[in-house]
Symmetry: D3
Subunit: 294 residues, 6 copies
């Protein structure tokens, strides 16, 4: 399809990016459509393996909400949500962990290993990676905000990167299920975007890539010309306050801000529906999606 | 309860054993009643943590048959067995993996970490640890033996200890779910005793400890005085042939023989129903159960 | 004597202590009755070997006053003391060094090695471990304090832990004779408690254990109920000033304070007349004697 | 020019090759037109830098015959050849070394460093890399072959890869001028193809790439359809004997055979006149030129 | 010639110096008569090899002005000087580099290797060792100072010691030609004294030894009794200002001051015309020449 | 006394020897007059320190017979000898150890450290260095040879060089007292020549130097012209058999043969009465004494 010379020019074009990210850690939050479509899944795995082969150190955090919902249905367990958070009793968190750690995670590991890299699936429980604490849901009753206990939904209290460092140093790709554990040993299901943000920060990652089902941030969603390629921290906070960033985009941007605060260099919201979006973002001059920078 | 002097004498008595096993790898197959009873579970975890603290390098392989059966029932899936092996279609192996890797494994990891060691849960998929192949069931029709395909039940084809070596060298305790993967990436549920045997062999472990629900081997089960403390390989093979070892004891002894053939130094069948059986076996002069030696 | 279960429970009880002191340095000042009685000597050696086997890094400093006195008598040399310090001419220090380094030290090394550890006997001369300077005796004439030169009695000027670090890193147990050397190369006999304190400090030891012939500190020696388990630095200094701590206990407590000042974490006065006192102190919840803490 | 998707597919296509050659040594003999044309020179440098960035360990050996001839002319020195070898008196070898080491070599180093890699120029003199001995020219007088001394033209006697290993291990790209030194310290100019072959062998290189001014080997040069992609050692020797391989191609093929004999895995004759020929050979499925294999 | 006892006493006398400079870096600027005379050249090489063998880490920077002039004459190129600096067009710098890197440098490397050490010839281009920038000549027209562009004459902008550190750590002796390269990749000829000074500083060398054709500094050159053995920085600057140090001595002293400013411990001007002057300076109590100290 | 040029020529003359023995182990048996005379003692210490500074790895074994005899007299203990071996009861071996380890050894350590090296005094007890067994004396009654038990006189059964390797690798000079220990922990006094021979062998030392009170071996002691510089093993054995080597020279030569058999490269008998004999032997072309070679 391409002439030899064409291929060479594409490879050469990638050279400065390969050079720039050699030996750097890039944390990928994998979720959304890119995880649902088998075709896209293939391409994400190819991208991650390629990054590894050109010297990047990828770390994957995955979600799995739809798969959990599907499995809960299978066992005849009702799911209810409070302010977008799943009410999670002990049986629910047990099933969530089984689905995330025993199914979604191990499938990603398997697909990566099949491409010749060495992936290792872990959860936040392994070697105390993620210390969690309970996260209360916020419910609004008119103007009143109330905190409601919805069970084993957690947030990250502390990240101990010891195991990640050891795995990365030995050339493994860690694939992380977003489960944490509290001081008493209870398990919590945690939002994967935030886990990815905390881990990207703790590893001082060069990039956090959030694979989402949108193209990025617009000043006005009705006008495609208002796409924002780069957002500075202050701007991002301002846009949230003034409502330019709203709805489901808020937690995504907050995860980006958290990653920067915690130590990551850059955070990107990229469109996981686009084939090879990771590769395009990291290894070509295009750059896609919206990046949040200091 | 004990005087200070009493305590000292117990600790001192353990000294030569601590010395002997310092830096040595001991593989524990954890299963049976020791995994069902919460009290016994506590004691196994204490034993493993203690071994780690006195310089032993423990590696855990666990089973989980009853938990799988329970979960299959929960999702309304019928289980049938052929010659003692579970007929395992794609849905069944998926659920088996979820239960083993996402529930049983992570619970063990959690309990160990709670005791201050650093456990890491892995399955045979991680970094290509266990390459599996399909295992056919043998069915007897009169004198005729027939091989029957019962789905995703596997046996170990090859063990790549790279990840285990790296984890052990960095002072982690690997906790392994008995799942393997074939060349095409399909998952298989494998008998945990055999996985433990193969891994003990590949790691050239000092000991394989199979926690079982029996005291060990008797020449005559009706006569408690015929207990066998030590079995040489040749004897063991002879006893199987002559029917002295029979029934459920056969696969246990075969796992021991496999471990020795593959490189382990000794293999023990010990009674997991006895509290602290691991500790008693490894750190006291008592020695319990039946050991199989070269 | 003990049931298997009893033994397990003692070993398990030791677990948190083994865990706590794994890889930590514990400096033992060995002297007094524990060195005179052959039975006690055995038990001290067992304790030290056990500590080594469970991952502690022991360092031994020994005294030897009575043996020196005995040998001086043997060669017909009179010993006199000024304010509790031996008047030490050149011949005396030569004999002291021979006894300490060539007899007491090598016997301890021998006993330890016999238990399967690797002990190495050194003195403060080796690789410049202890730089000493002359210590003058203080003599009181009524209210007047006078400094008197009593020869080759020294105090620690500087500790160079290079050799100790190298030996400890290679898993040896250093056994140290309390001899130092000044800039001109002259040898000095130094009080072993102080040597132990300085070395515990320089190594940032987790504990200094002073084996003594008393149970510890009492507020009132006539009332056994006034035993003090824990003394804070400030308290200790206060008690010396107010006379609650008096006589032979003063230099012991001062050694403890010196160790803390120089960098050790804790210092303990324990009763060497009690069998396995080291083990009891380090590996059981009893805790014996008086500890001095920050 | 290319769509994002196109670029991704080219990069993905390169993945298995990147994976295959990761950490492997590839020795490039750089010469001919690829060294004369400034455009081709640029592309060779880009290719080598890219290889380095994707984890290959490149080693460069360069020639410089035309530049030497040019400079000899400049200083008014006549050049004569015997059987294709330059008659090389002391002044000539001195000038050859100046041109090779002080001009050609340092220019290559400079161009590579400009692309962000760390190249280090060395000659066979550095740290005793190439021990040389005199090579006599063979002159035919009718059927008689006579050996003629033509001065400081050498051949490789021994390669000491110590310096190369140290440089490669520290991520430098060695750029080697084909100068050797004999036991007495006299300098020799050596054919760069043979130097490359010997070094590829001594380093057990994965590939030797000889950049030439031809496309490769044909069974019949007049029939483009007779191109030979792969030559086995035995075939190659046979073709030389039978005259299928003739003229200037003989020494090229002999260098390939020498490399294999000395320990290299494969040797390739590739067309340096084609832009990015190195990249195409190493990182694409095309594969160009003729490879000589075991 | 010497009795055994005499020899021993000389070797013993060197002991404290060997001890003092063990593992220390000594930078030698090699030039002047010591480079012209074959006898002196031999002795310099012996001295450097001896230093290496007694544990010193020598680094050599060489000049080559006379050889460059000779070669320019050979190719019929006129040389002109402005304020003592050679006017250096592109052809001139190319020839200078060839002579320095391809002739002078490789001869020194060869002579050192012949003495059993491992020398490696490099220039400032290798691995980006010396980043240069253009140096303008200063021309005085009456009292007016004017800056004149004389081509590719450079000064050191930055030294990257990475390659030197790696070579020195692997026991090589780096031999450096005073060529630098600017951001665009253009080559510059740089005064070797200054290159030596900058490198001595960047390496925090124990000593910089400038081999010159004078004995050192005199307060009054007509009175041999006014020889100055030690000059403090402030004095040196004062003497330049007051004209005590004048003419060709000024740049030498300035190089010494530059070395100290950049991080070297001491800088020495020693008489390269004296056989074994390096050895005498470093390994005997004589000490020769003038040293500049903080 | 010597001109600068003279000094340089002596240092240069030593160069090939420094080069040859760089990083090599040389074992010195120190005893005889060289230990009695304070002047000679000084010079031996200077020689050893110098060897260390030029990269040699010296290991010292010392004797101490006269000092032991002196001290036994001091404590009123009679000494008797059987066939040249001291009858050694428990009290005698205790005193021997005190003198050797606590006095002679620590004095050597002290003198070496004073010259800026790092010496560490050890005995054969440390870390199990020398496993000894009882050596019986041979008594001749006419033609009958009888074995007589003379107490704690030992011979080397096994050498464990672990501690020596660790010390040497960390740049310490081990100084070894010739005391060994048997399986039961009993101490033995061992002939220092033999200890040195065994250790030189076990360390595969480049040289064993036995400092003696004779010049070396003569074919005829009355004719100075019959001095033997080099003895091959076979010759040495022949000369002992034929009586050319006789009396006190026999055990010296046997120690040399033992060293070669056990793995040392060369063994030398040199005259310790000659100042700086070690230095002359190792670092000058003279070579003194008699060497025994393969």
């Amino acid at each position: 399809m391409f002439s030899a010379e064409d291929k060479a020019s594409v490879l050469i074009e990638a050279l400065p990016y390969i050079q720039k990210f050699y030996g750097k850690t890039i944390v990928v939050k994998y979720g959304g459509n890119a995880m649902v479509s088998d075709t896209l899944k293939e391409k994400v795995m190819e991208d991650i393996a390629l990054l590894k082969y050109v010297g990047v150190r990828p770390v994957i955090i995955h979600g799995g909400g739809p798969e959990i919902t599907g499995f809960l249905k299978k066992v005849g367990k009702q799911t209810s949500f409070v302010s977008g958070l799943r009410v999670t009793d002990e049986e629910t968190v047990e099933i969530a962990e089984m689905v995330l750690d025993g199914k979604v995670n191990s499938e990603i590991v398997n697909l990566l290993n099949h491409r010749g890299v060495k992936a290792v699936g872990i959860s936040g429980k392994d070697a105390g990676l993620i210390r969690a604490k309970k996260k209360l849901a916020t419910v609004y009753d008119g103007d009143d905000a109330k905190k409601v206990d919805i069970g084993y939904v957690g947030e990250v209290e502390e990240v101990d990167t010891g195991l990640l460092d050891d795995l990365i140093d030995h050339d493994y790709i860690p694939v992380i299920a977003p489960i944490g554990v509290d001081e008493e040993g209870a398990s919590y299901n945690i939002n994967a975007d935030y886990v990815a943000a905390e881990i990207a920060g703790a590893l001082h990652a060069e990039k956090l890539l959030l694979l989402t089902d949108i193209e990025g941030v617009y000043k006005d969603y009705h006008d495609k010309d208002t796409f924002i390629s780069t957002l500075h921290q202050a701007e991002a906070r301002e846009y949230i306050k003034t409502g330019i960033i709203e709805g489901g985009m808020i937690p995504k941007i907050e995860a980006c801000l958290k990653a920067l605060d915690a130590g990551a260099v850059k955070a990107h919201i990229i469109d996981g529906r686009l084939a090879h979006s990771i590769l395009l973002e990291v290894l070509t001059p295009q750059g896609i999606g919206t990046q949040v920078v200091r």
